[in-house]
């Protein structure tokens, strides 16, 4: 629009800049002789991502100039093995350009934030190495032109998520959470991979996303294939985007450093699932209606389920995590309802304010050394900047006019209103709950008396009374308030048209409008939530304990996270897989399969023992054997030759 069209090489540079940073830091760590120091790592990373950000802006600019349509770069050959032909390329259209912009900007801010948050940590260089790797992978994911390329980076972001959640691997909880995160998402990827193999097989070897979408849109794929493919892709997305029933890894993943949560588990990676569905939106649309409805309902259910858990969680980060799940549920619901633009728009705004909120929680943690809200309180005086930014983020998330969250959520609920009133109701309730738990957090954390924090946690050398975080942390937060407040205005400014540029003409049907019922109800829900939270946690009428008691089993259920963890981990994995299947199969292997082998050996020796007893040492046993042999052989031959018996 403003600049000349970006050449392909520059888009690749967006991807390669963090990769170079990663490689250099990796070499620096493993080869001690290079004289690499920790502080180089953060500088390198920030520089690289900064470069990527600038280029991403250029790309976005170009894409806007193209009205969001694909720039159509030719892919490059990666692998040729008979029919297995894979080409890697970059996709520059509205979706990827937007995602690149989101990823690079959030990443850049988080890197800056991290220099403060991770200051003095033993794994400082490693941290930035992994962050570079993550950024690279995420960029690779969003710019991929081939499904396989997308999948590869999909897995890579999973890996970096694993490594970063388990960054403080000495903490058993972190190590366990990392493993859990990886395996649960991998379980989703299982279906994704089936989908990938299925589509390759059924299309005769096509991996190119555009081509797949085109085939689906032209109804050249059978319904069965479409159902299989879409459900598989959705399962993969559900794993990554923490949709029910694969949602339970995300709260645990909060064991990672907070900037990681801020970048990966709120803004980018978890949104990759939504991105994936959006990427295949034409295919999803082509699939039978039941499929999309299923997707929508799962999204809605996830949204309300996560929100209910968020209300009762005491860990600030976990509340945010549940909130993330809930918001992702919104987006998935939107996709399922055909609300392509709404989903992406919400993804876009959510990335910024959720990242902001996480950074705020990190800042709080920096001061108090805890994430437990019961140990906080009254921080608004000690940390005014954090407080202010957190409030803005919360308001945006709650959907208060005219902040970014309001616009995107409104689009979303509008879609629901048009397609399915029940889902709209659910969405509105979730909006209420969102406002409630967000302001519960605010009241518990920033209002009231300070309740003491916690002793120094490993990896942090900050102690003493709470105080404002260093500038390296506050500045990114302040910067993030800008998109949290303003970016909703794009809704008025052709965002929909731009973002639909990626879709084929036939299914572009976005038109910006507002519906008074939806508008009113959502605004009511938001303020109702805020008010309710104020009543309970600020005015303490009714007291939260009373409320909990009143809710009775619901409260217990929600506080127990609906026992999904227990069922999945304890039930399925431990009991079914380990105790039942695993143990029995292992025993079967040991006793039966190996037993037959050893039994054969033992049996052979036994028979050998018997056989050698035939050699009694008595000569006449031997001669008798000879005679017996002769007699038997003669008789057998006589009988066989038939001469004797016939007569």
């Amino acid at each position: 629009m403003f600049l000349p069209d970006i050449p392909e090489l520059m888009i690749w540079a967006i991807y390669f800049a963090p990769m170079v940073s990663f490689a250099v830091i990796a070499c620096g760590i493993t080869i001690p002789r290079m004289g690499f120091q920790a502080r180089h790592a953060s500088r390198l990373t920030i520089t690289a991502i900064g470069l990527s950000w600038i280029l991403a802006l250029w790309a976005l600019d170009t894409s806007i100039g193209l009205d969001g349509e694909s720039a159509g770069f030719a892919p490059h050959e990666w692998l040729r093995l008979f029919d297995f032909e894979v080409d890697f390329g970059v996709q520059l259209d509205s979706l990827s350009a937007l995602m690149m912009f989101v990823v690079t900007s959030v990443s850049l801010l988080v890197q800056v934030y991290s220099t403060g948050y991770m200051h003095g940590d033993g794994g400082y260089a490693r941290y930035f190495m992994l962050m570079s790797l993550f950024t690279m992978s995420m960029l690779g994911l969003v710019m991929a032109s081939s499904l396989l390329q997308l999948f590869i980076h999909w897995e890579l972001v999973g890996l970096t998520s694993y490594l970063l959640v388990g960054f403080w691997f000495h903490r058993p909880a972190a190590a366990a959470a990392a493993k859990k995160a990886f395996i649960v998402t991998r379980f989703g990827d299982f279906f994704f991979m089936i989908a990938l193999v299925l589509i390759w097989t059924k299309t005769g070897g096509i991996f190119d996303i555009t081509e797949i979408n085109a085939l689906a849109a032209q109804h050249q794929l059978s319904d069965a294939v479409l159902v299989g493919f879409v459900l598989g892709v959705f399962a993969g997305a559900a794993g990554k985007s923490a949709q029910f029933p694969l949602h339970f890894w995300l709260p645990d993943a909060m064991e990672g450093p907070t900037p990681v949560s801020s970048l990966i588990h709120s803004a980018t990676m978890v949104a990759a699932g939504v991105y994936l569905l959006a990427r295949f939106f034409p295919t999803v649309e082509a699939a039978p209606g039941e499929v999309t409805t299923t997707i929508a309902y799962i999204g809605a259910f996830t949204a309300i389920l996560a929100a209910s858990m968020g209300i009762v969680a005491n860990d600030i980060k976990r509340v945010l995590a549940y909130s993330t799940i809930s918001q992702l549920g919104y987006m998935v619901m939107a996709i399922g309802l055909g609300g392509f633009v709404a989903a992406i728009f919400h993804l876009f705004t959510h990335a910024f304010f959720k990242s902001l909120l996480f950074q705020g929680s990190g800042s709080v943690n920096h001061a108090t050394n805890t994430f437990d809200m019961r140990r906080m309180g009254g921080l608004r005086t000690a940390m005014p900047l954090t407080f202010a930014t957190f409030i803005i983020g919360s308001l945006s998330l709650s959907g208060v006019f005219p902040l970014a969250g309001f616009w995107s959520k409104d689009e979303l609920l509008l879609d629901a209103w048009h397609h399915d009133k029940f889902l709209w109701m659910v969405g509105t309730i979730v909006a209420f709950m969102t406002a409630f738990y967000m302001f519960r957090v605010i009241f518990l954390t920033f209002f009231g008396e300070y309740r003491g924090g916690e002793e120094v946690d490993v990896g942090h050398d900050v102690a003493g009374p709470p105080h404002e975080s260093p500038r390296s942390m506050t500045v990114p937060m302040i910067i993030l308030t800008v998109p949290s407040v303003l970016f909703g205005l794009f809704a008025l400014n052709g965002f929909g048209g731009f973002i639909e540029g990626t879709l084929p003409e036939e299914i572009r049907h976005f038109k910006f409008h507002m519906d008074s019922v939806v508008l009113a109800s959502s605004t009511l829900a938001a303020f109702g939530g805020i008010g309710a939270a104020a009543a309970v946690y600020l005015a303490r009428t009714p007291k939260p304990e009373q409320l909990g008691r009143a809710a009775g089993p619901f409260y217990t259920f929600a506080a127990g996270k609906y026992y999904v963890d227990e069922i999945a981990e304890g039930g399925i994995v431990r009991v079914v897989l380990h105790r039942f299947l695993g143990r029995w199969i292992a025993a079967f292997d040991r006793v039966v399969v190996d037993g037959i082998v050893n039994g054969t050996a033992v049996g052979a020796r036994r028979i050998g023992d018997i056989a050698r007893r035939l050699e009694t040492g008595h000569l006449q046993a031997y001669t008798s054997m000879s005679m017996l042999g002769v007699v038997v052989v003669i008789i057998v031959i006589f009988v066989l030759s038939g001469n004797v018996l016939e007569r």
């Binding site: 035939l614 050699e615 054997m625 000879s626 005679m627 042999g629 052989v633």
Partner: protein
């Protein structure tokens, strides 16, 4: 043909038998215990070998003594084997003989055994075969009891009585063959069988089964094997080493001659009967020998069972004989040739080791590789060859004989081969367990030792043969092939 020409045809045998007399004479003439009997024996063997080579080079073939004997490559092949085995045993047993008071008799008996076996393989007439076989047998009985120690005597009497019973069976079988076919010469029997006298099937069957019992005793095939472990354990080891190869080879040679030439070879009305009989005996031998060997702790006894199992392997070649190609016989011959080298190597190593450590228990062989690397290495090589693991001669021999059985083109032969190959896996257990004991386990006694020079010579020779044939088997296979061709009826 003049008398001398006839004697020329059986030159090697005559030399050996005459040599035995010379040795005995030398014992009488020279002062007791001084005479270089071993050298004399080797000289006789060298002469015999020279004569046999002369035969081979001049291509002397054909019957003599009115068809009682034939001189052909088949016989020469085995004569070479006997001479080689006898020479090796002679060299290897020089130390052992020093402690024996009967060295002249020992060498003379060895030479007679070799000579009579040479005649045996040349034999083409039941009478000569019978006499030569009995001579061999009697001499071997005496040899086994030669030390006149307790176990030697027990081994001797067991060997003798088993042998006598076997001989009784065999001669009864000869009677039926003779009576049914009206001939004592193998050619006569062959022409009768080939004429297809189906009505004579029963007595012929009776005859060849009884004869097979007699030969089976020599070959140590199940169920005529009973003597083997006891005799191997009790007899004097050098003599057993001779017995284990030469006697077995003689048994197989005469079985080939009789069944292949005498009974008219393949495609007679009884060929399938006896081929299958040998097949069954082969299976039984392999199974029994290998299974029973699994639990042995005495090395000589182990080798006894092993020899039964190996006899089963070789008998596959006998079973494959019925096809008319030379593969079966050549398989038997090639296998036997490698078996001679392998088994002699193993036995000599065992002798050399046990002379020092005074035990034949497998457990006492622990850590031998450190005490005497050469002996342990050679013994291991021979065990590998017995198992049939490359690059040893035993590997090629097994493959070759299995191949001949498959080439025969009978389904039941493939089953036979399948049993045989599975048995190879079983045999690996005890052969390699021994190898492991020698190489892996810790020695109880760290004192090192070396075999005597004469022993070293034969051991190295055996080892080199095993390896050489394993790598370059073609010449020996060709020799066996050419020898087997002469076995076919002209």
């Amino acid at each position: 043909m003049t008398g001398w020409e006839q004697v020329y045809h059986i030159g090697p045998a005559v030399t050996l038998l005459g040599g035995a007399g010379v040795v005995l004479l030398a014992d009488m003439i020279l002062p007791r215990g001084r005479a270089p009997f071993a050298l004399l024996t080797l000289l006789v063997l060298a002469l015999a070998a020279g004569w046999a080579i002369w035969h081979a080079n001049t291509g002397t073939t054909g019957p003599s003594f009115d068809g009682a004997v034939v001189t052909d490559r088949f016989a020469l092949f085995f004569i070479f084997l006997f001479i080689a085995a006898t020479a090796a045993v002679t060299i290897a047993s020089t130390d052992w003989v020093k402690k024996l008071d009967l060295s002249a008799e020992y060498y003379a008996l060895l030479l007679v055994a070799a000579g009579s076996m040479s005649l045996l393989v040349q034999g083409n007439d039941l009478i000569l075969i019978f006499v030569a076989l009995e001579t061999t047998a009697l001499v071997q009985y005496v040899l086994v009891g030669l030390t006149r120690r307790d176990r030697s005597a027990e081994a001797g009497i067991k060997y003798l009585i088993s042998g006598a019973v076997a001989a009784g069976l065999m001669i009864y079988g000869f009677a039926f063959l003779f009576g049914t076919t009206g001939a004592t010469s193998l050619d006569g029997i062959a022409s009768f069988v080939q004429a297809g006298h189906e009505e004579a099937r029963l007595p012929l069957t009776l005859g060849f089964v009884l004869v097979a019992a007699g030969f089976g005793f020599k070959m140590a095939l199940v169920p005529f094997h009973g003597w083997a472990p006891d005799v191997y354990q009790g007899g004097p080891t050098p003599i057993i080493s001779f017995l284990s190869v030469a006697s077995k080879a003689g048994g197989f040679a005469i079985a080939l001659r009789l069944f292949y030439t005498g009974l008219g070879g393949s495609e007679t009305f009884i060929s399938e009967d006896w081929a299958m009989m040998f097949g069954v005996l082969a299976v039984a031998s392999m199974l029994f020998g290998n299974i029973a060997a699994l639990v042995q702790t005495d090395l000589r006894r182990l080798l006894g069972y092993s020899s039964i199992a190996q006899a089963g392997n070789i008998a596959i070649g006998l079973a494959a004989v019925s096809t008319g190609s030379t593969l079966g016989p050549s398989g038997v011959m090639f296998f036997l040739a490698t078996y001679v080298a392998t088994n002699l190597g193993a036995f000599f190593a065992v002798i050399a080791i046990s002379q020092r450590i005074g035990s034949y228990e497998i457990g006492d062989y622990a850590g031998l590789i450190r005490r005497s690397p050469m002996l342990a290495a050679i013994l291991m090589l021979c065990l590998l060859s017995l198992t049939g693991i490359p690059p040893t001669a035993g590997f090629i021999a097994k493959i070759y004989i299995f191949n001949s059985a498959v080439q025969a083109g009978e389904q039941w032969l493939i089953v036979l081969v399948a049993v045989a190959v599975v048995n190879t896996a079983v045999s690996a257990y005890y052969y390699l367990r021994l190898a492991r004991t020698m190489i892996v386990d810790d020695a109880k006694d760290e004192m090192t030792f070396r075999p005597t020079l004469s022993m070293q010579v034969v051991l190295v020779f055996a080892a080199v043969t095993v390896i050489f044939v394993g790598l370059v088997p073609a010449p020996l296979i060709s020799a066996a092939q050419r020898a087997a061709e002469t076995l076919q009826i002209q």
